[in-house]
């Protein structure tokens, strides 16, 4: 039975089908966009997310962490290693007793500090990792600041033990 909508003035049925059809086409459009977006996300997952970073001790050792390619290297910022001069920040990151010198053009900002794990994006040139992006990994431990009535040195030591 044909239940397609009437022309105005011909029948009494409300225009249910036309709005339903419009909704269907919108849904088909969204579904097509979802499939494309899903493809992009899966591609990013397989190419980037599944192996997000190499640890310092894996650079040049592990498959996918070859020293001659662009890398994301994870390690903990060594205490006392941060130096800032002429707009450049240099520091040492370590993991599993292996160290790596990092040079970053700029100030990493945010919560970047000693003893915190970071992921540095960049390339290894002459044993120095030239980074153009620093991401700070904060830990899953949360400590209220006002409960710590310790001096600055103790606070720093605490931060090292917590985030290292």
């Amino acid at each position: 039975m044909d239940l397609s909508p009437r022309e105005p003035g011909v029948g009494a049925a409300p225009p249910v089908r036309s709005s339903t059809a419009r909704r269907r086409w919108v849904s088909i459009g969204i579904l097509a966009a979802v499939i494309v977006a899903g493809g992009v996300v899966v591609t990013q997952f397989l190419s980037s997310a599944i192996d997000y970073y190499c640890n310092v001790d894996e650079v040049g050792e592990r498959d996918g962490c070859e020293a001659d390619r662009r890398l994301r290297v994870q390690g903990t910022v060594e205490q006392g290693s941060i130096k800032q001069a002429a707009g450049t920040t240099t520091f040492l990151i370590s993991f599993n007793a292996k160290n790596l010198d990092v040079r970053y053009d700029g100030d990493p900002g945010g919560i970047f500090q000693e003893c915190i794990p970071v992921v540095a994006h960049g390339r290894l040139v002459n044993d120095v990792f030239l980074s153009d992006r620093i991401e700070v990994k904060h830990s899953n431990t949360y400590v209220a600041k006002n409960e710590d009535r310790m001096d600055e040195a103790e606070a720093a030591a605490d931060a090292c033990s917590r985030v290292g």
Partner: protein
């Protein structure tokens, strides 16, 4: 063509829904006070940690919504009557879940900018979360593909049962792969909660408040969806009546 299952549901202006709404509003105010004023800054993250009191509850509600969608969908498929009310509850819950998942991504992105130093990166947790979000946008699109209400219910129920499998993948992505995102703080396998007292209370309180908001929104959205279905059936009934009046054989 029966419209027995599309009759208008009882109004949401009941004492229960009014009270839920009231609790949601009051709870949100208390949560804002706790998050912005009463809880302390974190030693490492400073004030940016306050985003957590919204970010984590929105993620929790999104998970809850998608699981509820799956439970209702399973109930629809298993039930002998194939209740359209269960289907509408599933749809309402998924809509609310998508909104909260979107809020999770936005608040997470803002938090990421403050703590990681970037709004976005394709790390395992972020990538699987956005995939979950895209999947449920797709689920909502599937619901709008047309056909009868029973056809809509059946196909979307099947999609919901597959989609919910992604949730453990998202939750455990930080353990399965190397992630920029931190591991769980509260729901840890060894039960060791790594958060100070009032911060933890505020977080749990936030989860409770957002759960009430979720329930309130689903109740109202379910009624709207029932009204939409009822209008659709009424239109079809009217069209049928018009054809009958014209003497067209059925």
């Amino acid at each position: 063509m029966s419209n027995a299952q599309t009759s208008v549901p009882p109004p949401t202006r009941t004492a229960t829904t009014r009270n839920l709404g009231l609790i949601a509003i009051l709870g949100s105010v208390v949560l804002a006070l706790l998050g912005l004023f009463f809880t302390a800054e974190d030693v490492v993250q400073g004030s940016s940690v306050r985003i957590m009191y919204v970010h984590v509850p929105t993620a929790w509600v999104a998970y809850l919504a998608f699981v509820f969608t799956a439970v209702c969908s399973a109930g629809y498929l298993r039930g002998k009557k194939h209740s359209l009310n269960l289907d509408r509850l599933a749809g309402a819950s998924a809509e609310v879940g998508v909104i909260f998942m979107g809020l999770t991504l936005v608040t997470g992105s803002l938090w990421g900018r403050l703590s990681w130093g970037t709004y976005w990166d394709w790390d395992p947790r972020l990538t699987t979360t956005v995939f979950l979000f895209v999947t449920y946008v797709g689920y909502l699109a599937v619901r709008g593909l047309g056909g009868t209400q029973q056809q809509r219910a059946k196909r979307s129920a099947i999609v919901a049962l597959f989609a919910v499998i992604e949730i453990p993948l998202v939750h455990f992505s930080v353990l399965l792969w190397r992630s920029l995102h931190q591991e769980a703080t509260v729901l840890r396998p060894n039960g060791d909660v790594r958060m100070d007292g009032l911060m933890l209370f505020s977080l749990v309180f936030g989860v409770a408040v957002f759960t009430v908001i979720f329930a309130w929104l689903v109740l109202h959205r379910n009624r709207v969806l029932a009204l939409v279905d009822a209008v659709e059936m009424r239109g079809i009934d009217a069209a049928l009546a018009a054809r009958h009046a014209e003497g067209v054989p059925t």
